[in-house]
């Protein structure tokens, strides 16, 4: 203490205090420095992310929140997508020169005139829409004008780039992006939550061919509507589903109507119809499978059947005793009734139940029609339903049942979603292999010699059954209001696809000799579909006269060539 004078000692203490303070400060700085430069500081990063989100709300450069997933066809072609669309608005208070702004904007917004824009921009408001959902090009052009007071709001919008093509399948959403019809509604939750696009079984190219031919048939016969469908008989995948008239899902409000008149009504899945003679392929399959009727058993179809107040007659009466193939190719109602009488109501009903005729088709659409089933079910009902009257089912149900008749007897589940399935069809067995083969022979014979001749496509071994019914309106069958259909399978030696075309109220034409039946209206449309679709579907054409093919589809003991010759005379 003696060496150092007192004031100096005090100064030294203060100096030490200050130096200590700086040492601590430097220490803190060094630690922070190390943390920041080596990236230990997570809080810092989180802050920047938040800052970034705040920076850019309502701006286009926002990191995208989940957009509704796309819908694509089986080949990845886009059927529905979500785009961020700009809508342009003005804040008139900020506009410097109203006249100049109006003139410039009118060069971009073509549905406005400088005068109408000037009037809008002069209103004493702070916010005014100029145009909703503008294109990216319009947005770019407006930005380039560099006008103050003009800005954009961004909204998500569901876009259907293929317009009407698969409108009933894909469906549509409301303005807020909630699915309200079709696949959009059925898979609403999945489309919201998953990023991956939803891949449908539909093939746009086939869908187009089916829709085009259905439209042509409807137009040619001045009909009120129609459907066209194509399904894989082994996987149940619906490759095409067209309902005519249709609508543009980009503007579903543009069309309206009541019930089935509404173009948005999906006739293929929601509509139920009395299918007529196409049902005979189901009845006769059962008859052959049950063993109660053999292929060359004969039935007496010489006279109409009178029951209660009804008379069952034939459209092409033959007035003769017929074997099963004849009943089938002349589409004899009388013969079919005689056959179903040997089956009996109980077995017939349980068969219809088994092949899915009594319940709505299990397909991924919210719009699925319930079949109309007679209740109580008397013997008369069995008799008429055997040839397709008195019970209404949806075309999808018929397609499914028919595929089981030809694919070897397995009832597949129809689906609109692409399945990766190989190998034999999956599902319950509804008829035996033998009965299925017999039905394939009958269907083929019908195209060679019977009512389905116009459904033939050389090389694709088509087999099919026509159907024509009078429409039942409030319990009365209207003579000149028909539903004409044709259901076909190809190739018949190894069935792969089943096609159905149905036309609602076709009108007879001079060049169809006054006919508007399934064979004249729907069969040519089906033939066009098969000719166009088969190469795309990868079905190789066959030599239809190859001995092994003829043998596979021939009837043991029947001179098929003679029947075909007879058929040609018709």
């Amino acid at each position: 203490m003696k060496l150092i004078p007192r004031p100096l000692a005090t100064a030294r203490q203060r100096l030490l205090l200050i130096a200590g303070f700086f040492v601590i400060l430097a220490g803190v700085i060094i630690v922070t420095l190390v943390r920041v430069s080596l990236g230990f500081d997570h809080t810092h990063k989180l802050q920047t992310v938040n800052a970034q989100a705040e920076d850019s709300d309502s701006e286009t450069d926002d990191a995208a929140p989940e957009l509704r997933a796309d819908i694509e066809d089986r080949n990845g072609e886009m059927l529905a997508t979500t785009l961020r669309m700009a809508s342009v608005y003005a804040d008139p208070k900020q506009i410097l020169d109203v006249h100049e702004a109006a003139v410039k904007l009118a060069t971009v917004l073509h549905d406005e005139t400088p005068a109408s824009l000037q009037q809008k921009l002069s209103r004493p408001m702070r916010f005014i829409w100029l145009k909703r959902d503008i294109t990216p090009k319009e947005e770019y052009d407006i930005n380039k004008l560099g006008l103050p007071g003009i800005d954009f709001r961004y909204e998500e919008r569901r876009i259907y780039p293929t317009d009407n093509l698969a409108a009933h399948v894909v469906g549509y959403t409301d303005r807020d992006g909630n699915g309200i019809a079709g696949i959009e509604k059925y898979f609403d939750k999945q489309l919201r939550e998953e990023d991956e696009p939803l891949t449908l079984a539909i093939d746009s190219r086939i869908q187009h061919i089916v829709r085009r031919e259905t439209l042509n048939a409807v137009e040619k016969f001045s009909a009120i509507g129609g459907i066209g469908m194509l399904m894989n008989v082994k996987t149940g995948e619906i490759i095409a589903m067209a309902s005519v008239p249709d609508f543009n899902p980009n503007d579903p409000g543009a069309t309206s109507g009541i019930g089935a008149i509404d173009p948005k009504f999906n006739r293929a899945a929601l509509g139920v119809y009395e299918m007529g003679s196409t049902f005979k392929s189901l009845t006769i399959s059962l008859a052959l499978d049950s063993g109660r009727v053999k292929m060359f058993d004969t039935v007496d179809a010489r006279a109409p059947i009178h029951i209660a107040r009804f008379t069952i007659n034939d459209f092409h009466p033959q007035y003769k005793i017929m074997s099963v193939p004849e009943v089938f190719i002349f589409s004899s109602n009388i013969g079919t009734v005689k056959i179903v009488q040997r089956i009996g109501t109980e077995l017939f009903k349980s068969f219809l139940e088994k092949i899915g005729m009594m319940a709505p088709a299990p397909v991924e659409l919210p719009e699925v029609g319930h079949p109309l089933i007679p209740n109580p079910w008397g013997e008369i009902n069995t008799m008429t339903i055997a040839f397709g009257h008195g019970m209404a089912v949806s075309p999808t149900q018929l397609l499914r049942a028919e595929s089981a008749m030809v694919n070897g007897g397995i009832l597949v589940t129809p689906t609109l979603v692409k399945k990766d399935m190989a190998g034999p069809p999956q599902g319950p067995r509804v008829i035996g292999e033998d009965a299925s083969l017999a039905m394939r022979r009958l269907l083929r014979l019908n195209v060679l010699a019977g009512t389905g001749k116009k459904g033939a496509v050389p090389g694709y071994v088509v087999g099919g059954k026509t159907g024509t019914t009078e429409k039942n309106i409030n319990g009365v069958y209207i003579h000149n209001k028909l539903i004409s259909s044709f259901i076909a399978t190809f190739p018949m030696d190894d069935p792969q696809y089943v096609v159905l075309v149905m036309v609602d109220e076709p009108h007879p034409r001079k060049d169809t000799f006054g006919y508007a039946t399934g064979g004249w209206v729907a069969a040519p449309a089906v033939a066009n579909i098969i000719a166009g679709a088969a190469p795309i579907l990868g079905v190789a054409p066959r030599d239809e006269n190859a001995p092994e093919l003829l043998q596979k589809l021939a009837f043991p003991g029947l001179d098929t060539a003679h029947v075909i010759e007879e058929g040609k005379k018709e």
Partner: protein, 116 residues
């Protein structure tokens, strides 16, 4: 020696401070760049969506069919007869690979349908 201690600390502090400031500015610059890149990414993704939708729109089968009927008048849909006529040829070709033609042009008679 003791006289230089405060100077040493002062220099160290200045150095540390200077480095911190530099790094901080660099981080800011990087963040700015990141924001810019993210914005660019989102904008590009939006553009891709728009372009894909436009591509799908331009490829509508309805539209392509009209255009093809208008401009590809020499081409027609494949007829069954064309394939059947070519079938034996295809089978032959599969049995023995054809040598290259003299002019070097290989003609593809028929493409095998692609299963899907």
């Amino acid at each position: 020696m003791k006289r230089f201690a405060p100077l040493f600390w002062l220099v160290l502090i200045l150095l540390a401070g200077g480095t911190l400031m530099k790094i901080s500015y660099e981080v800011d610059a990087k963040e700015h760049e990141l924001r810019h890149l993210n914005a660019q990414l989102a904008a590009d993704e939006d553009s891709i969506r728009v372009l894909r939708a436009e591509w799908a729109y331009l490829n509508q089968p309805q539209r392509l069919e009209k255009l093809s009927a208008k401009y590809l008048t020499a081409l027609h849909p494949l007829q069954v007869a064309q394939m059947q006529a070519a079938l034996p040829a295809v089978q032959l070709a599969a049995a023995a690979p054809t040598p290259l033609p003299a002019n070097g042009i290989i003609r593809v008679a028929v493409t095998t349908p692609i299963a899907h």
